[in-house]
Symmetry: C2
Subunit: 340 residues, 2 copies
């Protein structure tokens, strides 16, 4: 099969890789209908995360089940399925508490690499959620978004306690931040402030439910949020970048007793304990337990109540993955869908 391999920073190649096979009796093999490039794939692509030799890449996927291992009970060949970036058993105490991304048996999808034609999905019964039937083709991008960016943005909004009566600010205008705007809207937030200085992303934020756009960053951005909220700060702030500046911007934009939901993968971040202490904010985040939200998100997409697939503003054949990485790295594209 064809699959993307990261060789070194800036160097992605799509090449022939061995077809995956069932290894564990709980595995499934899926034929990917669509896959995509994640903002978090850019960390190793940019050399900010270390690259140890050639490694298959990609962790977002939707597709049709080809084969299942002998212990797979719920998932059957022929089903259209959505999964997330951590395979999880969905039965352990941590999964049952809603934190499948902390599953005691979790398996990261990234070295498996789903930017490919086929993929082995560990713990298939726990990981995969089947759609009601074979989805219409135009729903595929939205279902693919549910696999990570929508689920992650949703977790960010939930962790930020977005809801009725709340003012929610979103730091970061990548696909996750934009999906957090969509999630805040679905969760009933009264006012949603998207922080973005890029016209096409501002437009999509408004489409997803943003009521205000703030173009300032850092402490200037904080001051604008304060001005918009009687000097108090937002009730809920979603952080979807992962840098020191964005984390501090999020914490400082939140009122005492408010909630920061942070889902940008933290890189070189150190939170000053005294400032955090006196901020009185709630802080929650991490790798999103997307599996928890998949049934609900699949329903909302199938009923055409949300259209998160709009985050894909560039579609390429899988073989042109390298061009997709370049486009996202240069911020020419919000998010790139790859057709296997």
């Amino acid at each position: 099969m064809r699959g993307a391999v990261l060789y070194a920073p800036g160097h992605i190649r799509v090449e022939d890789r061995p077809d995956p096979a069932i290894i564990e009796p709980t595995d499934a093999i899926i034929r990917l209908t669509a896959t995509c490039i994640c903002g978090s794939d850019l960390w190793p692509y940019r050399g900010i995360e270390k690259v140890d030799g050639p490694t298959p890449i990609g962790h977002e996927y939707v597709g049709v089940v080809e084969e299942v291992g002998p212990e797979v009970r719920a998932i059957r060949p022929g089903q259209f399925v959505v999964g997330s970036f951590f395979a999880s058993d969905n039965t352990c105490e941590i999964c049952r508490s809603g934190y499948q991304s902390g599953c005691v048996n979790r398996v990261p999808m990234n070295p498996i690499g789903t930017q490919a034609q086929f993929a082995r999905i560990p713990l298939a019964d726990g990981t995969l959620v089947a759609t009601p039937g074979m989805p219409d083709a135009d729903l595929v991008p939205s279902l693919l978004a549910a696999s990570d960016v929508l689920g992650t943005g949703w977790f960010g909004a939930v962790a930020a306690a977005a809801g009725p009566g709340k003012t929610v600010a979103v730091v970061g205008d990548g696909a996750v931040g934009l999906c957090a705007v969509l999630a805040a809207k679905q969760l009933g937030a009264e006012r949603i402030i998207a922080m973005s200085r890029h016209a096409p992303r501002q437009e999509l934020a408004r489409h997803f439910g943003a009521t205000d756009i703030v173009t300032e960053r850092g402490d200037d951005g904080v001051n604008v949020i304060k001005d918009l909220t009687n000097g108090l700060g937002a009730h809920s702030v979603v952080e979807a970048v992962g840098t020191q500046e964005s984390m501090m911007q999020a914490i400082r934009s939140t009122r005492p007793g408010g909630h920061v939901g942070y889902v940008g993968v933290a890189h070189d971040v150190a939170l000053p304990g005294d400032e955090l202490f006196f901020s009185l904010v709630h802080l929650h985040g991490g790798p999103a337990p997307v599996r928890q939200y998949l049934p609900q998100l699949i329903d909302l997409i199938s009923e055409r109540k949300i259209d998160p697939g709009k985050v894909f503003d560039l579609t390429l054949p899988l073989d042109q993955a390298a061009e997709g990485y370049q486009a996202m790295d240069e911020r020419r594209a919000i998010k790139v869908l790859l057709q296997p």
Copy 2:
């Protein structure tokens, strides 16, 4: 009147200070029935917080109202009252959300200094809570504990989401940590693990409701907590120290999706973003909104359902405050009550 003044690290003197007077129309003057020394007073006493010249000290207080300003409506002379370390209006949006310690008009009690015979209490109607009548003398220590350590331990337990079915661990065996044990018990926690290596504190922890005592610290302590919780970590961890080691011990002792409530005033703490991210914990804390809990705590104390006053294991006349500071600094006393 007599009042304690911190002159320099290690140097506390009780001396004649001017009697306080009404300054703002919302002030009250109270005659202190009892006051005490806080673990947080030890930070400047030890020179870890800077001391800028002689400064009155103390922020915990119970007493009888002597006089009120012309705009005070609810509080009346003759009432026995309890207040907390931030005066707060209790009417602003932040107060109404339950975060009186983040009140937009808050006034810290510390430069006012309540280790004294009298004190001016700003924003009296918002800050002070009157007891149902004049309390029995033996209840005074518990009411005084409500002024800070109990309210702070209670907030720590609430921030850690202690409750039925939960395993709660408490890092720190000072008065606040011990009160967090009491709070976790009252909130219905199933199992309460106190981390302490001092026999009298272990005994008090058990009296307040601890089911297990762990003597190990740092990562050794983390491993013991993991062993006690099927390898998962506690659901809820209260941090009541404020150092880098204690914060990391708290975060690492918490299971994915669990809650850390931190109430030790953070000193030289920097939280590593990547570890925090992948821990998947909730983090909440800061200066406790004690005012929120005072009515409930006063009821529990008045009905003799809780006895947090047991944290006072040394009682001294106010004039011997210096000996009290020494005893707490050397950990000879858990907490020192001063009689004005």
